[in-house]
């Protein structure tokens, strides 16, 4: 699968797509405030939806999900349901209320609602940790694609990929490139679905809607090769499935860069309907991703390529593997690679910038330099950005058996165990206080880290709190801790409780 020569045509397509998005961003930077971003004015509900979806689509969606299907079959459905179902939680419990707080970042929200700078610091550190873990998943995706494009091994590919991302962000920042998210989403969706249509057409399946056409491949795999991996719960328990699914849902409603979509949205109604469009656009990808995993398995089975369960990198390349073994023209494979690279590039750029902003705004002036001016904060962000990239790069270089989607799931578990309970109780329970949220978030970090640190040395713990899905039991546990500690300590001030009841919920006595 991995070529040992430079793939010139795909490389040109990757460069062309990134240049197209950058030029479009340059042209639209003047209009950004009014047309494209939440930072500005009204963008239209479809535009808001496309922005949500393009912000969401990363290497985990573009490459990782297909890889999960390739390796784990039906079990990977937990990712589809988790990553879409989380938006229901986000809509009904948070989207409307968050905006009424008038804050711009997750640590800002936590500091205001819980009236605590210590809580802000804990939230900022957690936001940076989430950024790093999520970036590692993106770096792995970028490295696999760079490795294929240049025909080089994984380790130099990680370094080259990281250098390209940092260079891309610096050049974009210097030129003032705005992110044209509408164009980006529609380019990515075409890059993802067009090759799938060509593949299913080639196989003689129903190609107009490859999202259902690939069903014939499942039947063929079962009948011709006896593959039963598509059978529900063939290899994993119901608990493991539910743990992944709900952990991802809680994490979706707790990821700082997802929540930030709703802080500055121009209108609550537009935010709500934009979220529905966003969910539809995201579902389009997730209805399609399983097809790549299934088709890759079919092509490899037909070519007599042995299935290697212990090779997560091979699984993560299922999307490209399907395109190559399916005999698609090189420009189509290049289009797929370009889509994957651009999804990962923009996600990692946005994550690292958010992490750097969290450091410069929430930590630097409070812990390191109390008298920092705005210029100092900008320099702190610029200095912290490459440092974050270096840390993520160092972690991405470590050998791991985890797949891209699983590393991303770890970031979701951390968000689900910490930020999600802090926001949930912060919005819906006036009695939640600073002591409660600090102990809850610290307990959440511990719950996420324990399975990583202990491994399988405590079998019961490893079973109840899986590394990638600890938020299933962890989030309710953190909520319980927050409630207990809050009740045992002094209530929040009258001002914040009044703000919550009058400004956020408009509740009045009957």
């Amino acid at each position: 699968m991995f070529a040992s020569t430079v793939q010139l045509l795909p490389l040109a397509i990757v460069a062309g797509l990134l240049a197209l998005l950058a030029i479009s961003g340059l042209r639209s930077r003047g209009r950004q405030a009014t047309e494209y971003g939440f930072a500005g004015g009204y963008v239209g509900r479809v535009g808001i939806g496309a922005a949500i979806a393009s912000n969401w689509m990363s290497a985990a969606s573009f490459l990782g999900l297909a890889g999960m299907f390739y390796l784990k079959g039906y079990f990977a459905m937990a990712f589809v349901v988790g990553w879409t179902g989380g938006y229901v939680l986000l809509l009904v419990l948070m989207a409307t209320q968050i905006r009424r707080f008038g804050k711009y970042t997750a640590p800002d929200f936590v500091a205001f609602r819980y009236e605590s700078e210590a809580a802000r610091t804990v939230a900022a550190v957690i936001a940076i940790l989430i950024t790093v873990i999520y970036s590692v998943a993106q770096f792995r995706g970028i490295a696999l694609l760079v490795s294929w494009l240049f025909g080089i091994a994984y380790i130099p590919a990680v370094i080259i990929g990281a250098a390209l991302v940092v260079g891309f962000v610096i050049v974009s920042g210097t030129l003032g490139v705005a992110r044209n998210q509408k164009l980006q989403y529609f380019t990515l969706i075409i890059a993802f679905i067009l090759p799938l249509m060509l593949l299913t057409r080639k196989l003689g399946y129903f190609w107009l809607l490859p999202q259902i056409g690939y069903g014939s491949a499942i039947t063929d795999l079962q009948q011709q090769f006896g593959f039963a991996w598509a059978q529900p719960f063939a290899g994993d328990s119901l608990f493991a499935w539910m743990a992944v699914c709900f952990s991802l849902m809680f994490g979706t409603a707790g990821l700082p860069h997802v929540l930030s979509r709703f802080y500055m949205v121009p209108g609550i109604r537009d935010a709500r309907w934009g979220l529905v469009w966003g969910l539809f656009f995201i579902a389009l990808i997730y209805w399609s991703a399983p097809a790549y995993g299934v088709l890759a398995r079919l092509f490899e089975a037909r070519a007599g390529i042995p299935f290697d369960l212990a090779n997560p990198a091979m699984a993560d390349m299922a999307v490209l593997s399907a395109a190559q073994h399916g005999g698609l023209p090189m420009w189509v494979t290049g289009l797929l690679a370009a889509g994957g690279i651009s999804a990962a590039f923009y996600t990692v750029a946005s994550l690292l910038l958010t992490g750097a902003a969290s450091f410069s705004y929430d930590l630097y002036p409070r812990l390191i330099r109390p008298n920092a001016t705005e210029t100092d904060k900008v320099y702190a962000a610029k200095g912290f950005f490459p440092l974050l990239a270096l840390v993520s790069l160092a972690l991405a270089l470590q050998p791991t058996t985890m797949m891209i989607a699983e590393i991303a799931a770890l970031a979701f578990a951390l968000a689900g165990n910490t930020i999600f309970p802090a926001f949930l109780l912060g919005i819906w329970w006036g009695r939640a206080n600073a002591a409660g949220v600090i102990s809850g978030m610290l307990a959440g970090v511990l719950i996420t880290a324990l399975p990583l640190l202990l491994g399988n040395s405590v079998p019961l713990l490893a079973k109840l709190l899986p590394v990638t899905s600890s938020a299933f039991l962890g989030a309710p546990l953190v909520v319980a801790i927050m409630i207990t500690v809050s009740l045992l300590t002094a209530p929040p001030s009258i001002e914040i409780r009044t703000f919550l009841s009058r400004n956020v919920h408009e509740c009045q006595e009957d």
Binding site: V92, G215, P232, R269, L279, Y286, G430, R497, C507, Q508
Partner: protein, 114 residues
Amino acid sequence: MPKSEPVDVNFFKPRGGSMKREIRLIVLVLAGWLLAVAGSQGFVYLLASTRLGAFLSAYTFFNLPMPFWLTGHFLPFWFIILCVLFNVWMDRHARQNLDGSLRFRARNDPGRET
């Protein structure tokens, strides 16, 4: 004027008609969300080792094995439906609240002719 104790927000003890209606809707949506996820997977799991389960796995719906379609296609679609229903209700609720507040202001405006 002494500061009065504020009305504490509590999801399980909503105050005021508006919040009560909103929470009733949230509970309904969340029940639909939870039942669909847990119910569908519980159903598929319980049937997995039975003859009916084998039949369902072999039976294709929209070209996909039934559990694949139910989980991978129907559930995300169901989430979209839930979100649309929630938004439609919230829009109506917001309109009614606005109408109510306008009528209230009109009735209390001493300079307005009635």
